[in-house]
């Protein structure tokens, strides 16, 4: 058996002899691998971004919406029916593994301050809201349980509201007016950016839910209840417990509420990226197959062209296996180099697209390894037949070949 290094050297020399042809042969593999790497990088980047956005909703969070409100033939959406109460929230808070609970009341209001006004979302929440949403207070403090009990007129505002109402000013301690009721700004939320659906999460004013219900909207039901489970493992258990608790509390024939958990959203995202992965694998398989056929074609030509060389090698004692290894190595070198160029090219292209398209691009190391391995494998698979054919040549005929 010839030594591997010597074989690789022979292969490289044979490929250098026909630089243009080698390059064109590799082109199939290069394009295939490059497109796979580009697509993978961009979808992985997008998926990672969505994942981090889902995570920004908070960890292990469940949301309880009230049922839909039906008036005549008109049906309101989730959260429209007056079925969820603060007492429901307090009952949920007593459940094991429900570590934090915040009743939510939402309303759009015109907010005045500082001689300026701004229409924004005014949200009644509990003091645990920042913890549940994994949202930091940039300056100041969150309102407290005491504020909730005393229907305090305190507010925590988002970055966008600060920009609109208090440009060039420290909002802490200032007063904002909602329906002419003065609220004192005690805290400012850290900027969170846009959510999955493109909404500006920083365009918000948080007030104690009790103050919201009594002072602003005068109602005795909440839109939804945010619940944080101890961890992702117990999230289903907590969901079950919430459903049971509320069912027994409401005693309605049909469930007048719905519980969603964030894991479902995450799973939807992962499912999307999984099916994307299958699609990409299909594209990769087809393009690598086409590239492989190109390699097989050129290797067959090469074997015919070098029939005499094969005869010479056989006459000085090359065994069939030596000839197989030589041509196989040549095919593998060709496809592996093509794979490497394709990986480099794909990473370049995806980086450029990411740069100019302002989208994230992440090339997972495992895909680099997979691309390289599969292009080398293509060389073995499609190089085998030509190599085998070469090894079966009759030395006498091969030597006489013109």
């Amino acid at each position: 058996m010839m030594r591997i290094i010597a074989t690789v050297k022979i292969a490289l020399r044979a490929l250098r002899r026909n630089k243009m042809r080698s390059l064109l042969t590799m082109l199939g593999i290069i394009i295939g691998v490059a497109s796979v790497i580009t697509a993978v990088s961009l979808t992985t980047g997008a998926t990672e971004q969505v994942k981090s956005q889902v995570q920004s909703l908070g960890e292990s969070v469940l949301t309880v919406f009230s049922g839909n409100f039906t008036s005549g033939a008109t049906r309101g959406g989730w959260g429209s029916a007056p079925t969820l109460t603060v007492d429901d929230a307090l009952a949920i808070a007593k459940l094991p593994n429900a570590v934090a609970v915040s009743p939510e009341v939402r309303d759009r209001e015109q907010v005045l301050a500082n001689g300026l006004n701004w229409n924004t979302q005014v949200q009644g929440e509990g003091p645990d809201y920042p913890q549940i949403r994994n949202w930091h207070i940039a300056s100041g403090v969150m309102f407290t349980e005491q504020d909730v009990r005393s229907l305090a007129k305190t507010a925590v505002i988002g970055k966008t509201v600060v920009d609109q109402l208090f440009p060039n000013e420290n909002p802490l301690g200032q007063t904002i007016r909602v329906r002419n009721i003065p609220f004192t700004v005690v805290g400012v939320l850290a900027p969170k950016g846009f959510n999955l659906f493109g909404q500006d999460q920083d365009d918000v004013v948080l007030v104690p839910y009790s103050s919201h219900m009594r002072r602003i909207t005068s109602r005795n039901f909440v839109n939804s209840i945010l619940v944080q489970a101890a961890n992702d493992q117990v999230i289903d258990e907590v969901q079950q417990a919430i459903t049971e608790t509320l069912s027994s509390r409401h005693r309605s024939r049909e469930p007048d509420f719905t519980v969603r958990n964030q894991l479902e959203l995450m799973n939807a995202v992962t499912a999307t990226s999984k099916s994307m992965g299958f699609l990409l694998s299909g594209v990769a398989a087809v393009s690598l197959f086409v590239g492989g056929i190109g390699i097989m074609n050129i290797m067959l030509v090469s074997v015919t062209e070098r029939t005499r060389e094969i005869g010479i090698r056989m006459s000085v004692g090359a065994r069939a296996a030596d000839i197989v290894v030589q041509f196989l190595m040549e095919a593998v070198t060709l496809s592996a180099i093509g794979g490497l160029i394709g990986i480099g090219f794909g990473m370049l292209v995806s980086t450029l697209i990411a740069y100019f398209g302002k989208t994230p691009s992440v090339t997972p190391a495992v895909w680099i390894a997979v691309s390289f391995a599969s292009s080398a494998l293509i060389g073995i698979v499609f190089g085998f037949y030509p190599a085998w054919k070469a090894s079966k040549l009759d030395p006498i005929d091969a030597l006489r070949y013109e």
Binding site: I312, V316, A320, D322, I396
Partner: protein
């Protein structure tokens, strides 16, 4: 002293289409160590088939072939490849060097296929020694297309020698060369033979055959003549004569 080649009733029949071609019909002969044999014959006489069988490129249909005391008539493809590698050095009419590969690398080629791995340095040393023997060490880094026909054939001879074979087989080694270069190549063969190397050569040129020691003439697949060469030519003397003649022409 054992024979390098011992043939016992060798037959070769080609089954091509409807008619069987009986190329070699019962050849028996022995070639001893140190002999220098020319096999001659018209085309179709079976000499090329004989050569292929002697070179272990082809197997006899019938009969026994002992090469260096090993029976090779029943060996498989890979075993024959090993025999060619260890015991036979080939020199062809068309030189059969690898193009775009240096003379040195061409000479190293047979060592690539030796089972016992030969270190790179030893390969190089042995190849250089081989090139020195044929007087081409200075051109070790030349490619075949930078060498004359005679020089290419010398590289081929160096390649044939590098694994120290028991037998040097030459198939019309001077067929592509002019007469002076042909004599030079025969001079190389005579020198090698004087050092004890056994050479079997196929040729159809009578004057080339008279540089050898023994001539075998084949016709219709049989040996018809097998005799020692009476008036053996010496390549060195012939070259001297040729040069003198050329000088005489120039002077005239």
């Amino acid at each position: 002293m054992s024979a390098v080649i011992k043939l016992e009733e060798i037959h070769k029949i080609y089954h091509t289409g409807e008619v069987d071609v009986h190329a070699v019909r019962g050849v028996s002969l022995e070639i001893q160590r140190g002999e220098f044999v020319a096999v001659m014959g018209a085309s179709g006489s079976g000499k090329s088939t004989m050569m292929n069988m002697l070179g272990c490129l082809d197997r006899p249909t019938k009969g026994r072939y002992l090469l260096d005391a090993t029976d090779v008539s029943g060996l498989g493809r890979d075993e024959l490849a090993d025999i060619r590698n260890e015991k036979i050095g080939f020199v062809f009419q068309g030189f059969n060097l690898l193009s775009r590969t240096t003379a040195l690398e061409n000479v190293e080629l047979p060592m690539l296929y030796v089972h016992r791995r030969i270190p790179g340095r030893e390969q190089r040393d042995r190849a250089m020694k081989s090139l020195e023997i044929v007087g081409l060490a200075k051109r070790f880094d030349h490619h075949p297309n930078q060498l004359s026909g005679g020089q290419q054939q010398r590289v081929a001879i160096a390649r044939a020698l590098v694994n120290q074979p028991a037998l040097l087989l030459a198939d019309e080694p001077t067929g592509n060369l002019d007469s002076q270069t042909s004599i030079e190549i025969m001079g190389v063969f005579q020198k090698l033979n004087d050092q004890g190397i056994t050479i079997v050569m196929v040729t159809h040129e009578l004057d080339i055959a008279s540089y050898t020691k023994r001539n075998i003439i084949m016709r219709d697949g049989r040996v018809v003549t097998d005799e020692a060469v009476k008036n053996r030519l010496n390549a060195e003397n012939e070259l001297k004569k040729l040069r003198n003649a050329q000088e005489a022409v120039n002077l005239a």
